[in-house]
Symmetry: C2
Subunit: 429 residues, 2 copies
Amino acid sequence: MDITNVSSIEESLINDKLNRTEADFDQIDARVKEIINDVKNFGDEALKKFTEKFDGAQLTTLKVSQAEIDAAYESIDEEFINVLQEAKQNIIDFHQAQLEKSWLNYKNDGIILGQKVTPLDRIGVYVPGGKAAYPSTVLMTVLPAVVAGVNEIALVSPPDKDGNVHPYVLAAAKIAGVQEIYRVGGAQAIAALAYGTETIRPVDKIVGPGNIYVARAKKYVFGTVDIDMIAGPSEVCIIADEKQNPVFIAADLLSQAEHDEMAASILVTNSTELATAVQKEVENQLAKLERKDIARQSIDQYGQIFVVDTLDEAFNVANIIAPEHLELLVADPFANLSKVKHAGAIFLGPYAPEPLGDYFAGPNHTLPTSGTARFSSPLGTYDFLKRSSVIFYNQEELEKVKNQVVHFANEEGLGAHANSIQVRFNCEV
Amino acid sequence: MDITNVSSIEESLINDKLNRTEADFDQIDARVKEIINDVKNFGDEALKKFTEKFDGAQLTTLKVSQAEIDAAYESIDEEFINVLQEAKQNIIDFHQAQLEKSWLNYKNDGIILGQKVTPLDRIGVYVPGGKAAYPSTVLMTVLPAVVAGVNEIALVSPPDKDGNVHPYVLAAAKIAGVQEIYRVGGAQAIAALAYGTETIRPVDKIVGPGNIYVARAKKYVFGTVDIDMIAGPSEVCIIADEKQNPVFIAADLLSQAEHDEMAASILVTNSTELATAVQKEVENQLAKLERKDIARQSIDQYGQIFVVDTLDEAFNVANIIAPEHLELLVADPFANLSKVKHAGAIFLGPYAPEPLGDYFAGPNHTLPTSGTARFSSPLGTYDFLKRSSVIFYNQEELEKVKNQVVHFANEEGLGAHANSIQVRFNCEV
């Protein structure tokens, strides 16, 4: 893990170190478009064809039966069910605090302006399949929609060779309250959710993580439906002062690094001693990890320790990185919160490690990655709500401003707009 | 203008009537990608090349000087300046009501969860050029960002053949408080805002309407930066009972129709008499409009009158359409507001015609079009704010849940995640 002294805050230096460059997706996009068009044209038949091709499963039915869901749930040990239930309650509690109310402002008797907040009708959730199953993904993507009041939630997840969706995914879906589950993944699943097939009715928004085909398919269908975000490799940035425990820091960096080879683990500190201690401790802990091959590649390629002169500079560096996860291991982290401009989730103090947020505390673990925290937010209840403006004027109030509106319309050359005001006061058309 | 009786609510019938089909943008996308790559590779030089090619202007400077902005402002008659100032105040008032606060929930001494709300650093606003200039677009796109607290706002707008940005755009920009303006439009302007050039520093989000090249370029750069929405043709849907004035309704339908040939103007009513009267009145008024050629094409292609049995059915039809603008010309529109599920902006009663909202009332006129109100909101202050989750646990509280988090991490096969909890309680790595 490299240690770099950052004496002057150079945005380009930091971005170079993180290897943040935009890839070219032309070939993947061409393939994704073919898959999407096939699903548009051939519906279920195309879904089954691609599932055989990519997942090696010959499907008879796309929809997972309630009996299958129940059986999956029954197969899980009770202790883990309890953990999932506890996590569910924490996630619901946090996301309820994000609910928005409709409002009306009564300017006077004749002017009322407001905003009506309405949940989306129907959404789709993508849950990756493969060897590892992520029940946490199910809870984190489904529950905000449940809290928002979305009526219909369709979950898709690629099956194994026998056509089965992972029992952890099914069990978590049952716990979250999802009844509509389809055994299909990849770009084909995104196409089905966006355009519909005989079996799968189209949704209004698609959320959830996936591989690069899923991500590019989501970008392709964006506009026809809404999407949450286009997720890239994830990262953690830890700001630590000289008093922090290098063992904690190394463990937290490695918890990010084990995700995948592209994950970035970054420490920013004002202490050279801590930097050296963490560098050594990362090596110690890494050797003992089950997923050490992945973590090793991640640490070697994207692991970075930046040493700065002052903690204020550390915050500047973190704001340039705009990390998905930011840990503040400093004295009085609450007082320093105002220095954080860009981060997906902020973990305060030595006893709020990132995995606590990944699984359990309640805030969402679906976060803006790769610097997109500059402009995006965690997945939240607000993702499943939309707003409509509300405008009421009575005759008297419209009359007071009619000349202004007509003037404005005429300046823009839109005579019918002016006319719509004028006819209400008996002007000639 | 066709009258159709809709006795049973058939989503497919309504969508067929509105000709809502997805176009293929392959050729445009290929051209857009070339332009974007050219700007990425050659920066300002490419911007000047494309401006000469598409706008016929040979530019010496890209940035509009303060002297030009001031001169444009001075050239506007004082009465219109006053109208713009009044509109500005109304827009600011409404968008201030959309501001979101950061919050912290103190679950107990040891668990504090919250959400930090931060404005975006730097945004770009696209304002179309051409013969018609839309100062209303400037106010509606810039002011929500100003209210949100965005520090840097870069505005781009294509120049005329002499290299000048329309004086109305410059004057409105000055009124809205924008100082950074570039004379460049099209896909090349979007590329400059997303990736930066020698003169234009990249932004975090791009908002504002534009032609199909601008829209596709925005979709292309989405992910690198955020965008507001991909706008399609606009529409108005009017729900009216038998007591409403056909003159008002025809004028409002035509105010939408004059926008462009693709605009859709739709009346849904429970009265055959009103339907016939509006049909006739549209013809009367249309003949006298300045922009009658555009309005004629729009009405003939996309104008629709749906006659339903009951007003409740009218709301069902409107929810299927999910219109950009929805006028409720019914007795007691407030009591009926709960029936509206999908609409960009809702105009209540006979004295809140759509143009009042386009220019003056305060709510944004940048609205989700073509049915995307099913999942999107008007442009608002929230578009320029983002959220970060905040998580604090103390040692005691983490200890209480450590087994659950470790269990969850191990079930997902992520040992380093479990380790990050365990090292904090002196377990062996």
